[in-house]
Protein backbone atom coordinates (compact mmCIF):
# COMPACT_ATOMS: atom_id res chain seq x y z
CA UNK A 1 0.00 0.00 0.00
CA UNK A 2 1.39 3.40 -0.76
CA UNK A 3 3.06 4.91 2.26
CA UNK A 4 6.17 7.01 2.69
CA UNK A 5 7.82 7.63 6.03
CA UNK A 6 10.36 10.30 6.89
CA UNK A 7 13.37 8.92 8.72
CA UNK A 8 15.16 11.66 10.70
CA UNK A 9 18.47 10.45 9.24
CA UNK A 10 17.69 9.12 5.73
CA UNK A 11 14.75 11.36 4.83
CA UNK A 12 11.53 10.38 3.05
CA UNK A 13 11.61 6.70 2.01
CA UNK A 14 9.29 3.89 0.87
CA UNK A 15 7.19 2.71 3.83
CA UNK A 16 8.10 -0.93 3.27
CA UNK A 17 11.68 -0.15 4.43
CA UNK A 18 10.28 0.47 7.91
CA UNK A 19 8.59 -1.51 10.62
CA UNK A 20 5.74 -0.12 12.67
CA UNK A 21 6.59 0.04 16.36
CA UNK A 22 3.31 0.81 18.10
CA UNK A 23 1.34 3.78 19.31
CA UNK A 24 3.38 6.27 21.32
CA UNK A 25 2.56 5.55 24.96
CA UNK A 26 5.08 7.82 26.63
CA UNK A 27 7.96 6.62 28.79
CA UNK A 28 8.10 3.08 30.14
CA UNK A 29 6.31 3.05 33.52
CA UNK A 30 8.35 3.04 36.72
CA UNK A 31 9.00 -0.40 38.18
CA UNK A 32 8.24 0.84 41.70
CA UNK A 33 4.57 0.50 42.49
CA UNK A 34 3.88 -0.84 39.00
CA UNK A 35 0.45 -2.56 38.89
CA UNK A 36 -0.55 -5.35 36.48
CA UNK A 37 -3.16 -2.95 35.06
CA UNK A 38 -0.63 -0.23 34.31
CA UNK A 39 1.81 -2.73 32.79
CA UNK A 40 -0.95 -4.29 30.68
CA UNK A 41 -1.91 -0.85 29.45
CA UNK A 42 1.66 -0.05 28.47
CA UNK A 43 2.30 -3.39 26.78
CA UNK A 44 -1.02 -4.32 25.19
CA UNK A 45 -3.65 -1.60 25.14
CA UNK A 46 -4.17 0.77 22.23
CA UNK A 47 -6.36 3.74 21.44
CA UNK A 48 -6.78 2.63 17.80
CA UNK A 49 -7.47 6.21 16.78
CA UNK A 50 -9.23 6.66 13.46
CA UNK A 51 -7.40 9.88 12.66
CA UNK A 52 -4.00 11.35 13.49
CA UNK A 53 -1.84 9.49 15.99
CA UNK A 54 1.74 9.71 17.20
CA UNK A 55 3.51 6.42 16.63
CA UNK A 56 6.88 4.67 16.57
CA UNK A 57 8.69 3.34 13.52
CA UNK A 58 12.10 1.74 13.01
CA UNK A 59 14.10 2.08 9.81
CA UNK A 60 14.61 -1.67 9.55
CA UNK A 61 16.08 -1.86 6.04
CA UNK A 62 17.99 1.40 6.48
CA UNK A 63 19.89 3.11 9.25
CA UNK A 64 18.09 1.24 12.06
CA UNK A 65 16.96 4.29 14.00
CA UNK A 66 13.80 4.46 16.06
CA UNK A 67 11.70 7.62 15.85
CA UNK A 68 8.12 8.90 16.10
CA UNK A 69 5.97 10.42 13.39
CA UNK A 70 2.36 11.54 13.14
CA UNK A 71 0.20 9.62 10.72
CA UNK A 72 -3.45 9.79 9.73
CA UNK A 73 -4.67 6.21 10.09
CA UNK A 74 -7.77 6.85 7.96
CA UNK A 75 -5.89 8.31 4.98
CA UNK A 76 -2.74 6.26 5.69
CA UNK A 77 -0.39 9.23 5.18
CA UNK A 78 2.30 10.79 7.32
CA UNK A 79 1.25 14.26 8.45
CA UNK A 80 2.99 17.23 10.08
CA UNK A 81 3.13 17.36 13.84
CA UNK A 82 -0.19 18.88 15.02
CA UNK A 83 -0.03 22.38 16.60
CA UNK A 84 -0.98 21.01 20.01
CA UNK A 85 2.13 18.82 20.16
CA UNK A 86 4.68 21.46 19.14
Amino acid sequence: MSLTITCPICGKRNGYEFRFGGEDKGPRPDEDSLTPQRWCEYVHLNECVAGVQKEWWVHKDGCGSWFTIHRDTVMNVEVAKPEADR
Binding site: M1, S2, L3, G15, Y16, R19, F20, G21, G22, P36, Q37, W39, C40, E41, V43, H44, L45, N46, E47, C48, V49, A50, W56, W66, T73, V74, M75, N76
Partner: protein, 407 residues
Protein backbone atom coordinates in the same frame (compact mmCIF):
# COMPACT_ATOMS: atom_id res chain seq x y z
CA UNK B 1 -37.36 -9.47 -14.22
CA UNK B 2 -38.03 -5.77 -13.69
CA UNK B 3 -40.91 -6.42 -11.30
CA UNK B 4 -41.17 -4.88 -7.88
CA UNK B 5 -38.83 -6.45 -5.39
CA UNK B 6 -39.61 -6.87 -1.74
CA UNK B 7 -36.96 -6.27 0.91
CA UNK B 8 -35.92 -9.58 2.40
CA UNK B 9 -35.99 -8.37 5.97
CA UNK B 10 -39.00 -6.50 7.24
CA UNK B 11 -40.42 -3.22 6.13
CA UNK B 12 -38.61 0.03 6.69
CA UNK B 13 -39.55 1.10 10.20
CA UNK B 14 -39.28 4.33 12.13
CA UNK B 15 -36.47 4.49 14.60
CA UNK B 16 -38.08 4.39 18.03
CA UNK B 17 -36.81 6.36 20.99
CA UNK B 18 -36.22 3.30 23.12
CA UNK B 19 -35.46 -0.43 22.81
CA UNK B 20 -34.83 -3.27 25.25
CA UNK B 21 -31.47 -3.84 23.57
CA UNK B 22 -29.42 -1.98 20.98
CA UNK B 23 -26.64 -3.45 18.86
CA UNK B 24 -24.11 -1.22 17.11
CA UNK B 25 -22.88 -2.92 13.91
CA UNK B 26 -24.87 -4.86 11.33
CA UNK B 27 -22.13 -7.36 10.66
CA UNK B 28 -22.01 -11.08 11.30
CA UNK B 29 -21.77 -10.92 15.07
CA UNK B 30 -24.34 -8.17 15.52
CA UNK B 31 -26.88 -9.96 13.33
CA UNK B 32 -26.23 -13.34 14.93
CA UNK B 33 -26.54 -11.91 18.44
CA UNK B 34 -29.83 -10.22 17.55
CA UNK B 35 -31.15 -13.44 16.03
CA UNK B 36 -30.37 -15.47 19.14
CA UNK B 37 -31.61 -12.75 21.53
CA UNK B 38 -34.98 -13.06 19.85
CA UNK B 39 -35.03 -16.78 19.21
CA UNK B 40 -33.54 -18.16 22.43
CA UNK B 41 -34.41 -15.47 24.95
CA UNK B 42 -37.59 -13.84 23.68
CA UNK B 43 -35.92 -10.42 23.58
CA UNK B 44 -37.38 -9.06 20.37
CA UNK B 45 -37.47 -5.32 21.01
CA UNK B 46 -34.00 -4.96 19.54
CA UNK B 47 -32.51 -2.41 17.13
CA UNK B 48 -29.44 -3.06 15.05
CA UNK B 49 -27.77 0.26 14.25
CA UNK B 50 -25.71 0.03 11.06
CA UNK B 51 -23.74 2.99 9.72
CA UNK B 52 -23.63 1.78 6.11
CA UNK B 53 -25.53 -1.32 5.04
CA UNK B 54 -25.57 -4.79 6.56
CA UNK B 55 -22.57 -6.75 5.36
CA UNK B 56 -20.54 -3.61 4.62
CA UNK B 57 -17.68 -4.68 6.90
CA UNK B 58 -15.77 -7.93 7.12
CA UNK B 59 -19.11 -9.70 6.75
CA UNK B 60 -19.18 -9.02 3.02
CA UNK B 61 -15.44 -9.12 2.40
CA UNK B 62 -14.19 -12.34 3.99
CA UNK B 63 -13.11 -15.45 2.13
CA UNK B 64 -15.76 -17.54 3.86
CA UNK B 65 -13.53 -20.22 5.31
CA UNK B 66 -14.89 -22.18 8.26
CA UNK B 67 -13.05 -24.68 10.44
CA UNK B 68 -12.68 -25.73 14.06
CA UNK B 69 -9.04 -26.83 14.32
CA UNK B 70 -7.93 -23.94 16.49
CA UNK B 71 -5.00 -24.31 18.84
CA UNK B 72 -6.10 -24.02 22.47
CA UNK B 73 -8.57 -25.50 24.94
CA UNK B 74 -11.02 -22.58 25.15
CA UNK B 75 -11.05 -21.80 21.46
CA UNK B 76 -11.58 -25.26 19.98
CA UNK B 77 -14.98 -25.89 21.65
CA UNK B 78 -16.28 -22.45 20.63
CA UNK B 79 -15.23 -22.88 17.01
CA UNK B 80 -16.50 -26.48 16.99
CA UNK B 81 -19.94 -25.35 18.04
CA UNK B 82 -19.83 -22.60 15.41
CA UNK B 83 -19.01 -25.18 12.74
CA UNK B 84 -21.72 -27.55 13.95
CA UNK B 85 -24.27 -24.74 13.78
CA UNK B 86 -24.11 -24.14 9.98
CA UNK B 87 -26.36 -27.03 8.95
CA UNK B 88 -28.69 -26.27 11.87
CA UNK B 89 -28.92 -22.57 10.94
CA UNK B 90 -29.54 -23.45 7.31
CA UNK B 91 -32.68 -25.32 8.41
CA UNK B 92 -33.73 -22.88 11.10
CA UNK B 93 -33.38 -19.82 8.90
CA UNK B 94 -34.86 -21.70 5.95
CA UNK B 95 -32.12 -20.14 3.90
CA UNK B 96 -29.43 -21.92 1.92
CA UNK B 97 -26.13 -20.94 3.49
CA UNK B 98 -24.34 -23.13 0.91
CA UNK B 99 -22.19 -24.94 3.46
CA UNK B 100 -19.65 -26.87 1.43
CA UNK B 101 -17.81 -29.05 3.93
CA UNK B 102 -15.02 -29.86 1.51
CA UNK B 103 -12.37 -30.08 4.23
CA UNK B 104 -9.29 -27.99 4.95
CA UNK B 105 -5.71 -28.94 4.18
CA UNK B 106 -3.12 -26.91 6.06
CA UNK B 107 0.27 -27.51 4.45
CA UNK B 108 3.40 -28.02 6.56
CA UNK B 109 6.77 -27.16 5.09
CA UNK B 110 9.24 -28.38 7.72
CA UNK B 111 9.64 -31.10 10.32
CA UNK B 112 9.21 -28.45 13.03
CA UNK B 113 5.87 -27.47 11.51
CA UNK B 114 4.80 -31.15 11.40
CA UNK B 115 5.63 -31.39 15.11
CA UNK B 116 3.59 -28.30 15.93
CA UNK B 117 0.71 -29.70 13.86
CA UNK B 118 0.75 -32.91 15.96
CA UNK B 119 0.05 -30.82 19.04
CA UNK B 120 -2.80 -28.91 17.40
CA UNK B 121 -4.26 -32.16 16.08
CA UNK B 122 -4.10 -33.79 19.51
CA UNK B 123 -5.96 -30.81 20.99
CA UNK B 124 -8.60 -31.01 18.27
CA UNK B 125 -9.07 -34.75 18.71
CA UNK B 126 -9.31 -34.35 22.48
CA UNK B 127 -12.22 -31.96 21.93
CA UNK B 128 -13.91 -34.24 19.41
CA UNK B 129 -12.88 -32.31 16.31
CA UNK B 130 -11.76 -34.46 13.41
CA UNK B 131 -8.20 -33.63 12.38
CA UNK B 132 -5.36 -35.80 11.04
CA UNK B 133 -1.74 -35.51 10.10
CA UNK B 134 -1.02 -36.74 6.59
CA UNK B 135 2.19 -36.96 4.57
CA UNK B 136 2.94 -35.21 1.30
CA UNK B 137 1.87 -38.18 -0.84
CA UNK B 138 -1.50 -38.41 0.88
CA UNK B 139 -1.93 -34.66 0.46
CA UNK B 140 -1.28 -35.03 -3.26
CA UNK B 141 -3.89 -37.79 -3.45
CA UNK B 142 -6.45 -35.44 -1.91
CA UNK B 143 -5.39 -32.42 -3.96
CA UNK B 144 -3.77 -33.52 -7.23
CA UNK B 145 -2.96 -29.90 -8.10
CA UNK B 146 -0.34 -29.76 -5.32
CA UNK B 147 3.33 -29.65 -6.22
CA UNK B 148 5.09 -32.02 -3.82
CA UNK B 149 8.48 -31.89 -5.54
CA UNK B 150 11.54 -30.99 -3.50
CA UNK B 151 12.69 -28.08 -5.62
CA UNK B 152 10.23 -25.36 -4.67
CA UNK B 153 10.93 -22.61 -2.16
CA UNK B 154 9.07 -24.39 0.63
CA UNK B 155 8.77 -28.12 -0.12
CA UNK B 156 5.62 -29.76 1.31
CA UNK B 157 6.34 -32.17 4.17
CA UNK B 158 2.75 -33.03 4.93
CA UNK B 159 -0.49 -31.45 6.02
CA UNK B 160 -3.00 -31.08 8.78
CA UNK B 161 -6.22 -32.44 7.30
CA UNK B 162 -9.50 -31.25 8.82
CA UNK B 163 -12.38 -32.90 6.90
CA UNK B 164 -15.40 -31.18 8.53
CA UNK B 165 -14.36 -27.61 7.64
CA UNK B 166 -14.87 -25.82 4.35
CA UNK B 167 -16.74 -22.85 2.96
CA UNK B 168 -20.03 -21.16 3.80
CA UNK B 169 -21.51 -18.48 1.54
CA UNK B 170 -20.81 -15.29 3.50
CA UNK B 171 -23.48 -13.06 1.94
CA UNK B 172 -26.08 -15.74 2.56
CA UNK B 173 -25.19 -15.71 6.25
CA UNK B 174 -25.75 -11.95 6.39
CA UNK B 175 -29.06 -12.11 4.54
CA UNK B 176 -30.28 -15.26 6.28
CA UNK B 177 -29.58 -13.91 9.77
CA UNK B 178 -31.09 -10.52 8.92
CA UNK B 179 -34.25 -12.17 7.66
CA UNK B 180 -34.33 -14.59 10.59
CA UNK B 181 -33.91 -11.82 13.16
CA UNK B 182 -36.43 -9.48 11.56
CA UNK B 183 -39.07 -12.24 11.43
CA UNK B 184 -38.96 -12.13 15.24
CA UNK B 185 -39.38 -8.35 15.19
CA UNK B 186 -35.77 -7.18 15.39
CA UNK B 187 -35.37 -3.84 13.59
CA UNK B 188 -32.41 -3.25 11.31
CA UNK B 189 -31.63 0.43 10.80
CA UNK B 190 -29.16 0.95 8.00
CA UNK B 191 -27.58 4.31 7.17
CA UNK B 192 -27.66 5.03 10.88
CA UNK B 193 -24.43 5.89 12.63
CA UNK B 194 -23.89 5.54 16.36
CA UNK B 195 -21.97 8.59 17.53
CA UNK B 196 -21.93 8.47 21.34
CA UNK B 197 -22.86 6.37 24.33
CA UNK B 198 -24.38 7.89 27.46
CA UNK B 199 -23.97 6.38 30.93
CA UNK B 200 -25.36 7.38 34.31
CA UNK B 201 -23.98 6.06 37.62
CA UNK B 202 -21.94 3.45 35.78
CA UNK B 203 -24.89 2.18 33.75
CA UNK B 204 -25.79 2.42 30.09
CA UNK B 205 -28.78 4.72 29.56
CA UNK B 206 -28.80 5.70 25.89
CA UNK B 207 -26.86 6.14 22.69
CA UNK B 208 -26.69 8.99 20.22
CA UNK B 209 -27.07 8.42 16.50
CA UNK B 210 -27.26 10.69 13.46
CA UNK B 211 -31.02 10.08 13.63
CA UNK B 212 -31.48 10.93 17.28
CA UNK B 213 -31.15 9.52 20.78
CA UNK B 214 -32.12 5.95 21.61
CA UNK B 215 -32.73 4.95 25.21
CA UNK B 216 -31.69 1.47 26.26
CA UNK B 217 -30.02 -0.24 29.16
CA UNK B 218 -28.48 -3.08 27.16
CA UNK B 219 -25.95 -2.13 24.53
CA UNK B 220 -23.63 -4.27 22.44
CA UNK B 221 -20.84 -2.82 20.35
CA UNK B 222 -20.04 -5.38 17.69
CA UNK B 223 -18.63 -3.25 14.92
CA UNK B 224 -15.80 -5.48 13.68
CA UNK B 225 -12.65 -3.54 12.82
CA UNK B 226 -14.29 -0.31 13.94
CA UNK B 227 -15.07 -1.59 17.46
CA UNK B 228 -11.80 -0.67 19.16
CA UNK B 229 -11.89 2.98 18.08
CA UNK B 230 -15.59 3.26 18.92
CA UNK B 231 -15.23 1.64 22.34
CA UNK B 232 -12.28 3.82 23.31
CA UNK B 233 -13.90 6.94 21.88
CA UNK B 234 -17.35 6.33 23.38
CA UNK B 235 -16.69 4.76 26.76
CA UNK B 236 -12.93 5.12 27.23
CA UNK B 237 -12.06 1.42 27.40
CA UNK B 238 -8.72 0.74 25.71
CA UNK B 239 -8.37 -2.63 24.02
CA UNK B 240 -5.39 -4.81 23.10
CA UNK B 241 -6.24 -4.43 19.44
CA UNK B 242 -4.40 -3.33 16.30
CA UNK B 243 -6.55 -2.71 13.23
CA UNK B 244 -4.88 -3.78 10.00
CA UNK B 245 -6.03 -3.93 6.40
CA UNK B 246 -6.35 -7.45 5.01
CA UNK B 247 -6.67 -8.28 1.30
CA UNK B 248 -8.05 -11.11 -0.80
CA UNK B 249 -8.69 -11.76 -4.50
CA UNK B 250 -10.32 -14.12 -6.99
CA UNK B 251 -9.20 -15.47 -10.35
CA UNK B 252 -11.26 -15.97 -13.45
CA UNK B 253 -13.62 -18.98 -13.14
CA UNK B 254 -12.31 -22.46 -13.97
CA UNK B 255 -13.77 -25.93 -14.30
CA UNK B 256 -13.69 -27.81 -10.98
CA UNK B 257 -10.12 -28.68 -9.99
CA UNK B 258 -9.78 -27.93 -6.29
CA UNK B 259 -12.19 -29.47 -3.82
CA UNK B 260 -10.48 -28.54 -0.55
CA UNK B 261 -9.44 -25.36 1.17
CA UNK B 262 -5.64 -25.38 0.92
CA UNK B 263 -3.56 -23.12 3.12
CA UNK B 264 0.10 -22.57 3.73
CA UNK B 265 1.67 -20.50 6.48
CA UNK B 266 5.10 -20.49 4.85
CA UNK B 267 3.80 -19.25 1.51
CA UNK B 268 1.42 -16.99 3.38
CA UNK B 269 -1.35 -18.02 1.05
CA UNK B 270 -4.60 -19.94 1.08
CA UNK B 271 -6.93 -20.86 -1.74
CA UNK B 272 -10.15 -22.65 -2.51
CA UNK B 273 -12.39 -22.92 -5.52
CA UNK B 274 -15.73 -21.21 -5.08
CA UNK B 275 -18.97 -22.75 -6.27
CA UNK B 276 -18.77 -20.26 -9.16
CA UNK B 277 -15.41 -21.73 -10.19
CA UNK B 278 -13.13 -18.88 -9.19
CA UNK B 279 -10.04 -19.53 -7.13
CA UNK B 280 -10.54 -17.35 -4.06
CA UNK B 281 -7.26 -16.63 -2.37
CA UNK B 282 -5.90 -14.57 0.50
CA UNK B 283 -4.71 -13.00 2.60
CA UNK B 284 -2.10 -10.33 2.93
CA UNK B 285 -1.83 -7.72 5.66
CA UNK B 286 0.46 -4.76 5.58
CA UNK B 287 1.96 -4.70 9.05
CA UNK B 288 0.80 -1.34 10.32
CA UNK B 289 -2.57 -0.16 11.60
CA UNK B 290 -4.80 1.73 9.22
CA UNK B 291 -8.46 2.08 8.36
CA UNK B 292 -8.14 2.19 4.58
CA UNK B 293 -9.31 -0.67 2.48
CA UNK B 294 -6.57 -0.16 -0.09
CA UNK B 295 -5.14 -3.02 -2.12
CA UNK B 296 -1.56 -3.42 -3.33
CA UNK B 297 0.19 -4.46 -6.53
CA UNK B 298 2.88 -5.93 -4.29
CA UNK B 299 0.37 -8.44 -2.97
CA UNK B 300 -0.97 -9.47 -6.37
CA UNK B 301 2.59 -10.38 -7.34
CA UNK B 302 3.18 -12.26 -4.10
CA UNK B 303 -0.01 -14.26 -4.52
CA UNK B 304 0.77 -15.09 -8.14
CA UNK B 305 4.22 -16.36 -7.16
CA UNK B 306 3.01 -18.41 -4.19
CA UNK B 307 0.09 -20.07 -5.99
CA UNK B 308 2.11 -20.94 -9.08
CA UNK B 309 4.75 -22.63 -6.93
CA UNK B 310 2.62 -24.93 -4.84
CA UNK B 311 -0.19 -25.34 -7.39
CA UNK B 312 1.65 -24.85 -10.70
CA UNK B 313 -1.37 -25.70 -12.84
CA UNK B 314 -2.72 -22.25 -11.92
CA UNK B 315 0.12 -20.51 -13.79
CA UNK B 316 -1.09 -18.00 -16.37
CA UNK B 317 -4.48 -17.48 -14.73
CA UNK B 318 -5.86 -13.98 -14.49
CA UNK B 319 -6.98 -12.35 -11.30
CA UNK B 320 -10.41 -10.77 -11.71
CA UNK B 321 -10.95 -8.81 -8.53
CA UNK B 322 -9.00 -7.77 -5.45
CA UNK B 323 -10.44 -6.13 -2.35
CA UNK B 324 -9.64 -5.43 1.27
CA UNK B 325 -11.27 -5.13 4.65
CA UNK B 326 -10.25 -4.57 8.24
CA UNK B 327 -8.90 -7.13 10.70
CA UNK B 328 -8.84 -6.25 14.40
CA UNK B 329 -5.89 -8.25 15.68
CA UNK B 330 -5.29 -9.19 19.33
CA UNK B 331 -1.88 -10.31 20.66
CA UNK B 332 -3.09 -13.86 21.40
CA UNK B 333 -5.21 -14.21 18.24
CA UNK B 334 -8.31 -14.81 20.34
CA UNK B 335 -11.33 -12.49 20.47
CA UNK B 336 -12.60 -10.35 23.33
CA UNK B 337 -16.14 -11.10 24.48
CA UNK B 338 -16.99 -9.12 27.55
CA UNK B 339 -19.64 -7.07 29.22
CA UNK B 340 -21.58 -5.98 32.28
CA UNK B 341 -18.28 -5.47 34.07
CA UNK B 342 -16.70 -2.12 33.35
CA UNK B 343 -20.11 -0.51 32.76
CA UNK B 344 -23.44 -2.09 33.69
CA UNK B 345 -25.37 -3.12 30.60
CA UNK B 346 -22.49 -2.50 28.24
CA UNK B 347 -21.29 -5.45 26.18
CA UNK B 348 -18.64 -5.75 23.51
CA UNK B 349 -17.52 -8.39 21.05
CA UNK B 350 -14.44 -7.75 18.92
CA UNK B 351 -10.84 -8.74 18.24
CA UNK B 352 -11.76 -11.52 15.83
CA UNK B 353 -8.97 -10.63 13.41
CA UNK B 354 -9.48 -12.84 10.40
CA UNK B 355 -11.46 -15.51 12.31
CA UNK B 356 -14.73 -13.67 12.71
CA UNK B 357 -16.69 -15.38 9.97
CA UNK B 358 -16.24 -18.99 11.04
CA UNK B 359 -17.14 -18.12 14.63
CA UNK B 360 -20.12 -15.79 14.29
CA UNK B 361 -22.82 -18.43 14.73
CA UNK B 362 -21.58 -19.58 18.15
CA UNK B 363 -20.42 -16.17 19.29
CA UNK B 364 -23.86 -14.71 18.50
CA UNK B 365 -25.52 -17.49 20.45
CA UNK B 366 -23.39 -16.98 23.55
CA UNK B 367 -23.31 -13.18 23.42
CA UNK B 368 -27.11 -13.28 23.33
CA UNK B 369 -27.18 -15.49 26.42
CA UNK B 370 -24.68 -13.13 28.08
CA UNK B 371 -26.87 -10.10 27.33
CA UNK B 372 -30.08 -11.83 28.36
CA UNK B 373 -28.77 -13.09 31.71
CA UNK B 374 -26.16 -10.46 32.51
CA UNK B 375 -23.61 -13.18 33.24
CA UNK B 376 -21.06 -14.65 30.88
CA UNK B 377 -21.85 -18.25 29.90
CA UNK B 378 -18.98 -20.64 30.74
CA UNK B 379 -18.15 -21.11 27.06
CA UNK B 380 -17.09 -17.49 26.62
CA UNK B 381 -16.04 -16.52 30.16
CA UNK B 382 -12.33 -17.01 29.41
CA UNK B 383 -12.50 -14.49 26.54
CA UNK B 384 -12.81 -11.48 28.85
CA UNK B 385 -10.67 -8.37 28.59
CA UNK B 386 -9.14 -8.80 32.02
CA UNK B 387 -7.17 -11.84 30.85
CA UNK B 388 -4.53 -9.45 29.51
CA UNK B 389 -3.82 -7.80 32.85
CA UNK B 390 -3.89 -11.25 34.49
CA UNK B 391 -1.34 -12.54 31.98
CA UNK B 392 -3.75 -15.25 30.89
CA UNK B 393 -3.23 -14.83 27.16
CA UNK B 394 -4.66 -17.67 25.11
CA UNK B 395 -1.83 -18.94 22.99
CA UNK B 396 -3.77 -19.27 19.77
CA UNK B 397 -0.46 -18.28 18.27
CA UNK B 398 2.97 -19.62 19.24
CA UNK B 399 4.38 -16.13 19.11
CA UNK B 400 2.51 -13.04 20.30
CA UNK B 401 1.21 -10.86 17.51
CA UNK B 402 2.35 -7.40 18.53
CA UNK B 403 2.83 -4.17 16.67
CA UNK B 404 4.76 -2.53 19.46
CA UNK B 405 8.27 -1.21 20.12
CA UNK B 406 9.14 -4.58 21.62
CA UNK B 407 9.60 -6.50 18.41
Amino acid sequence: MFGKYKPMWGEKTQLKSSYDAVIIGGGLHGLATAYYLAKDHGITDVAIIEKNYIGFGGAGRNTAIVRANQRTQYNVPLYKEALDLWPILTKELDYNLMFNNCGNLNLMHSEAAMKAARMTIATAQFHGVESHLIDAKEAKELVPALNISEDITYPIHGAMFHPPGGIVRHDAVVWGLARGASKFGVEIHQQTEATAVNTRNGKIVSIETNRGTINTNKLLISAGGYSAALIYGMVGIKLPISVLTIQAMVTQPLKPLLDHVVSSGAYHCYANQTLKGEIATGAHMDQWPNYTTQTTAHYIKHQGEALSEFMPCLRGLRFMRIWAGLADMTPDMAPILDGNDHIEGFYFNCGWGYFGFKSCSASGKYMAEFMAKGQAPDMIKPFNLRRYEQHKLMGETAELVTYTPNN
